[in-house]
């Protein structure tokens, strides 16, 4: 689990920056913000969002993940609404959120256009969507073995298929089709693990491997 935790700060920073950039919430906190974490796993991102004041709903298709997430939230003394369901199913209920994110999830989705439409439908006016995922390049294929470690939590064994990695242009087009303009993208790169005190990941210009995108209703 260590690599996943090391990957958390840079993703949290990007989510908080996006929320501020798009005017969903000012001041760096999430008080009163309705948050949907799609593919929440054990709650690595959901718990920080709740600590920052967000009203967090976390969904995951894997029952084991939801059980682990609930146990951990209890230990942390956090009230998070975890549910074992999918984005597509939840969208049907008509609920809306101010911040909707899917971190390291979309590369496992079979029908990405339907997934994008579901996220768009659940996004309240003035809300923020954030996606983090892996690019489909030679570099990312080469690193797929490493990348697998980072997505370990959400994926039942064997479902991770590098052919499903998503190119930034495809992501932009698919969300545009759902009425969401992803108008900001950034790359993430790990610091060398052997560097003493190497601190996980940093933001980089290159989107060649791990990257993030954010936007709101067009």
């Amino acid at each position: 689990m260590a690599p996943l935790h090391a990957f958390a700060p840079v993703r949290i920073d990007y989510i908080l920056d996006s929320v501020r950039r798009l005017g969903t919430s000012a001041g760096g906190r999430l008080d009163g913000v309705r948050v949907l974490d799609i593919g929440c796993g054990g709650g690595i991102l959901a718990e920080p969002m709740a600590r920052l004041g967000g009203q967090v709903t976390g969904i995951d298709a894997t029952p084991e993940a939801i059980a682990a997430a609930n146990a951990h939230a209890d230990m942390s003394g956090l009230a998070i609404d975890y549910r074992c369901t999918t984005a597509e199913a939840l969208a049907g209920s008509g609920v809306q959120y101010d911040l909707v994110y899917a971190s390291e999830v979309i590369e496992h989705v079979t029908d990405r256009r339907l997934f994008a439409a579901s996220m768009a439908a659940m996004l309240a006016p003035g809300g923020t969507i954030v996606i983090t995922t892996i690019n489909r390049t030679l570099a990312s294929f080469a690193l797929a073995k490493v990348a697998l470690e980072y997505v370990l939590r959400t994926v039942p064994a064997g479902t991770h298929d590098p052919a499903r990695f998503v190119k930034p242009a495809e992501l932009r087009d698919e969300f545009a089709g759902a009425g969401i303009m992803l108008d900001d993208m950034t790359g993430f790169a790990p610091l060398p693990a052997r560097q003493i005190g190497g601190n996980g990941f940093i933001r980089v210009g290159s989107l060649a491997v791990n990257y993030a995108a954010s936007g709101t209703h067009a």
Partner: protein, 412 residues
């Protein structure tokens, strides 16, 4: 459960708990000593300009009962001062820094510093647990459980035998038991040197100058105090230190005069002589899951450049910023990103200070005669040695670490 438990009530621990209480954290301080105010500590601490800004921001500076003595000049010399006035000037100014603006550093009596720190912490929202020793340590998933032992039945742990915290900051001194328990190994060289620490009263005024005189047996350092008093830290081979600790005042004064030269006139012994055993040491890592080390626990460096406490101040300043950053991310203080960032942020200064001070010291005292001879050729050689960077760094009041408190701002 506390966010942070600081262990150790020395100069580092009390300052650390005060600094971290400004980082939007719930802080506890576990302090073994019941009444540390008793017992006069004649040692002094050198604070650089950044450290002074930090202590001012924390409110400690204004509470110092005796005003800090400014350092406006640093004079470094090799060997014993020549007797002629012109030659003496040359020898002294060949390697010296001077500032006409604000002082490059200050010297504070430890007793005054400790009292001011204890005064300020009373006003901070810090849970104080006195008279209790940490006897055990257990790392859990999201924090650490410390076992507490009431030393003499007078502690005020309110009967609690344990304390839980997301992060433990070990400020328990050079022989940190917490660091050892966490497997953070200490590589120690054999102790071959001892520093004699005491107060001297000079015939002539020191002109706010810090003197470092490098002798073949080890450096003789004088830091300016109030009036014509100076704080002496004199590094010597063990046997020689033992001898000079035992001789009477007149013999000690004669030895000081011989070592330093006549630059300040007669040097009268005006305090108790303390022995500070010097063991050059190095810890490869200063963090473990749920724990970071600070102060002497993280780096017991050679006293040569008077940088020990400045490192401790930077530890606290950096950690305060990192805790604010971690809190802003909604992450707990136990999160691994915090200790990794701390490790990375402290690495450079720790390494620079350790190699500079120990390298410098061994160059002048333990090195083969050839190198000593080289150094004797002239001060120009010193330009290529770490000495210059260490002292010009002090002179600039500069620091290798960056943090809000070191710039005189509260964290956050």
């Amino acid at each position: 459960m506390h966010d942070v438990a600081v262990v150790g009530g020395g100069l580092t621990g009390v300052m650390m708990a005060t600094a971290l209480s400004h980082a939007e954290m719930d802080v506890a301080l576990v302090d073994r000593d019941n009444d540390p105010a008793t017992g006069v500590d004649e040692r002094t601490t050198t604070i650089n300009a950044a450290g002074a800004r930090m202590l001012t921001a924390l409110g400690v500076w204004d509470r110092l009962a005796t005003p800090p003595a400014p350092i406006r000049r640093v004079a470094i010399a090799e060997g014993i001062l020549p007797t002629g006035l012109a030659a003496r000037r040359r020898a002294q100014t060949d390697l010296s820094w001077q500032t006409n603006a604000s002082p490059m550093g200050f010297v504070i009596g430890n007793t005054a510093l400790q009292a001011a720190l204890r005064d300020i912490i009373e006003e901070r929202p810090v849970t104080r647990i006195h008279g209790v020793s940490v006897s055990g340590w257990q790392a859990g998933d999201d924090g650490i459980e410390l076992s507490l032992a009431d030393i003499n039945g007078t502690g005020d742990s309110s009967g609690a035998s344990s304390l839980r915290a997301a992060l433990v900051v070990a400020c328990d001194g050079a022989r940190s038991r917490l660091a050892e328990a966490a497997g953070l190994g200490l590589r120690e060289a054999r102790q071959t040197q001892t520093a004699i620490v005491t107060i001297l009263e000079a015939e002539r005024h020191h002109d706010d100058t810090a003197f470092q005189r490098f002798l073949p047996t080890g450096p003789f350092a004088l830091m300016p105090l109030d009036g014509t008093r100076l704080s002496l830290v004199w590094t010597l081979p063990n046997a020689e230190a033992d001898r000079l600790l035992a001789v009477d005042d007149a013999a000690f004064e004669a030895a000081c005069l011989e070592a330093f030269g006549p630059g300040l006139g007669y040097l009268r012994h005006a305090g108790r002589r303390l022995a500070w055993p010097l063991r050059p040491s190095w810890r490869r890592r200063i963090s473990a899951p749920g724990m970071v080390l600070a102060g002497d626990a993280a780096h017991a460096i050679h006293p040569l450049a008077g940088q020990g406490y400045n490192l401790a101040l930077a530890d606290a300043a950096v950690l305060a910023d990192l805790l604010v950053e971690t809190g802003r991310r909604g992450l707990p203080a136990s999160h691994m990103s915090l200790r990794r960032a701390y490790e990375a942020a402290r690495w450079r200064e720790r390494a620079a200070m350790t190699t500079a001070t120990s390298g410098l010291n061994s160059l002048f005292s333990n090195a083969p005669a050839g190198i000593r001879h080289l150094a004797g050729l002239g001060f120009a050689v010193l330009d290529r040695l770490p000495v210059k960077s260490v002292f010009s760094d002090i002179a600039a009041g500069g620091q290798l670490a960056e943090a809000a408190l070191l710039e005189g701002r509260l964290p956050g």
